[in-house]
């Protein structure tokens, strides 16, 4: 039976961490059983390169050193791989334990538990029973349903340009976008990417659920400067109509349309079972109003009234 990958990786890590002088590929191959069984030089080389990358993903700093004979050797020095001293008390440990549970994405969930295990090995105390009623009863969860998430997270981390097909909200067909990805942000349970759109020559925000197909990496580095502050949320809020610019006057049947009432800046009882409300008018309000059907009548402004009537007519003649 082939030797399990975890065993091979563990052996390579122990060899590299245990040595004081660089070890050549030849020496490593002779010390690790799985490499001896690897067969040809080619398959060993491929396996070795992949394993080194995997250990680096795990945080290991592996140095490549050339000796006087021009032979390449590898080692993971103690001082560059040591976790600096960190002392956490039981409360802090419990708080981190709660935070580590929020990820519903395999890679980040694995990384979060891995981090806790390293801290545990470094002496972090165990959390007390979380059910003793002392801590908040809240269970926060971060959903990640979008397949584009992981490749984009890695591309943001490594600052690698990407290309993907993206279908805008109202577009019939997806379009190929070349993007320098800056940050990912989750708001109201959905993930968004902010970055430099090379084709548009401007900053853009993308909703991950609208990316169709694969996210592919591109060679080369970023061409546009990454801003210090990236404002994803403000952009998305304006899409969602949260940033009101004007005010609208509507008639609303009493007892209905609670969310509009909660947002209203003024309410007047008209006495006939109807109220008159002033509500903030931003992008998307017409869609909200039309949902309420006969429970609402738009008084002003005229363009909002016309939009609502137009939408109603489309449904009335279906």
């Amino acid at each position: 039976m082939a030797i399990a990958k975890a065993e091979r990786l563990m052996n390579l890590a122990l060899c590299l961490l245990g040595t004081r002088r660089p070890l050549s590929k030849r020496e490593l191959r002779e010390s690790i059983e799985a490499y001896l069984e690897a067969g040809t030089d080619d398959s060993f080389n491929r396996m070795f390169e992949r394993d080194k990358d995997d250990l680096r993903e795990l945080g290991l700093v592996i140095e490549t050193v050339e000796n006087l004979d021009g032979e390449v050797g590898y080692l993971a020095r103690r001082d560059s791989n040591r976790l600096p001293a960190i002392t956490l008390d039981a409360e802090e440990a419990a708080a981190l334990g709660l935070a580590a549970k929020v990820w519903q994405q395999a890679r980040l969930a694995g990384a979060a538990s891995g981090a806790l295990q390293k801290l545990r090995a470094a002496g972090m105390p165990e959390a007390q029973d979380p059910l003793d009623g002392h801590h908040s009863a809240l269970e926060p969860r971060i959903p990640v349903h979008e397949t584009a998430f992981e490749p984009l997270m890695l591309a943001c981390r490594d600052r690698r340009p990407v290309v993907f097909d993206y279908r805008k909200a109202n577009a019939a067909r997806p379009e190929t976008r070349h993007v320098e990805p800056w940050t990912l942000e989750c708001w109201r349970g959905h993930w968004y990417l902010a970055g430099w759109d090379r084709g548009r020559g401007a900053e853009r925000v993308f909703r991950l659920s609208r990316i169709t197909g694969k996210v592919r990496s591109r060679a080369g580095s970023f061409t546009a400067e990454v801003p210090d502050v990236v404002t994803v949320r403000e952009t998305v809020e304006s899409w969602a109509g949260e940033t009101a610019t004007r005010s609208a006057l509507i008639k609303l049947r009493q007892g209905s349309g609670y969310p509009l009432r909660a947002r209203a800046t003024a309410v007047r009882d008209l006495g006939d079972g109807w109220d008159e409300l002033a509500v903030p008018y931003g992008h998307g309000l017409d869609a909200w109003l039309v949902e309420l059907g006969p429970e609402v009548v738009v008084l002003e402004p005229a363009d909002l009234r016309a939009d609502v009537v137009d939408r109603l007519r489309a449904v009335a003649k279906d």
Binding site: L9, I86, L96, S136, G255, E291, L312
Partner: protein, 324 residues
């Protein structure tokens, strides 16, 4: 938790550091400290004796277990390099820091917990050093309705019943009910899972739809029920629910993003034919009205009629005013 080779390697490296300090550690204690099952720990302990710095020289970890306690017979001979805990990887620092920052912003979090989290975050940033850098490229904002949240949190801690005035968008009405809170969770929005005393059933309430809330003196006594698995999505229509078919043009594709559905077939014009199930098809009248010319309901026919009637009635109000 599924174990892949990367996660297992990461765990085993920490495990050897941890076990070195604790000769004769109990399997159950170690599994709990590492947040893994005892079976996962045993499978790690099966691999470790094959690991070392030289399999030929016999320089392997002599770690052994009788299923109850764990013994390491040569902690100095081999793997002495693993005496010190390893630095955090970029992904590890990101996973923990992003989560900690997000949780710390929850308005309903108790102050003691928030302070502990902020202290831990600062220590972690310092210990992670460079690896913490990439964590600024990921962020999460939780929406939590502060006042309502605090009342629900208190009701859970004190095991008290709650009275709510709650908005149901499906019916566009506020209803009053008494509920026994079970738990609070945040997935995008913040929700309360509770046992509703009116319907004698489990209900999930979105906190931003709570118009009014009051703690009652009656004790909260929800029946013993299994908690919902949050990873499966919040809306889980049942197979018995009636089917609704909606056809949308390109401008209505968002429906597939917001409504859990059974299928979404591509249409030649760039639109979709979406089949979904809901316990109350009438509640989708709102959707039909909102879609306007971007789509329409195909079935059931009652829903098609009710949307059309609602639109006509609404238009009548404008026409009677002579301004449509």
């Amino acid at each position: 938790m599924a174990t892949n080779a990367i996660d297992q390697t990461r765990r085993m490296l920490s495990l050897v550091t941890y076990l070195r300090e604790r000769p004769g550690a109990h399997v159950s204690d170690v599994a709990r400290a590492f947040g893994i099952t005892e079976d996962e720990l045993i499978s790690d302990l099966d691999v470790l004796p094959m690991c070392g710095t030289s399999f030929r020289g016999g320089d392997l970890l002599d770690i052994d277990t009788d299923g109850d306690r764990i013994w390491w017979r040569n902690p100095d001979a081999s793997g002495s390099s693993t005496a010190e805990p390893l630095r955090l990887a970029a992904d590890e620092a990101t996973a923990l820091l992003v989560a900690a920052r997000a949780v710390a912003t929850l308005p309903g979090l108790r102050e003691g917990d928030r302070q502990a989290l902020l202290r831990a975050t600062a220590k972690l940033e310092a210990a992670a050093g460079e690896a913490a850098g990439a964590s600024s490229r990921l962020s999460v904002i939780f929406e939590a309705e502060g006042g309502v949240f605090a009342d629900v949190d208190r009701a859970i801690a004190e095991r008290r019943r709650l009275w709510l005035r709650y908005y149901s968008p499906a019916r566009d009405e506020l209803t009053e009910r008494e509920v026994d809170p079970i738990r609070l969770f945040a997935v995008g929005h913040t929700y309360m899972e509770a046992w509703c005393r009116q319907s004698e059933a489990r209900r999930t309430f979105r906190l931003d739809r709570v118009a009014e809330i009051r703690l009652l003196d009656e004790p909260s006594v929800p029946p013993e029920i299994e908690l919902r698995d949050l990873s499966e999505g919040l809306v889980q229509p049942s197979a018995d629910d009636p089917e609704v078919v909606v056809e949308v043009g390109p401008g209505g594709r968002w429906v597939a993003e917001y409504y859990p559905h059974d299928s979404a077939e591509e249409l030649p014009d760039g639109g979709l034919r979406i089949t979904l199930r809901t316990p109350e098809p009438a509640s989708l009248r709102r959707l039909a009205l909102r879609l306007g010319r971007d789509g329409h309901i195909v079935s059931p026919p009652e829903l098609v009629v009710s949307a059309r009637e609602a639109a006509r009635e609404a238009l009548a109000a404008y026409e009677s005013a002579g301004q449509a």
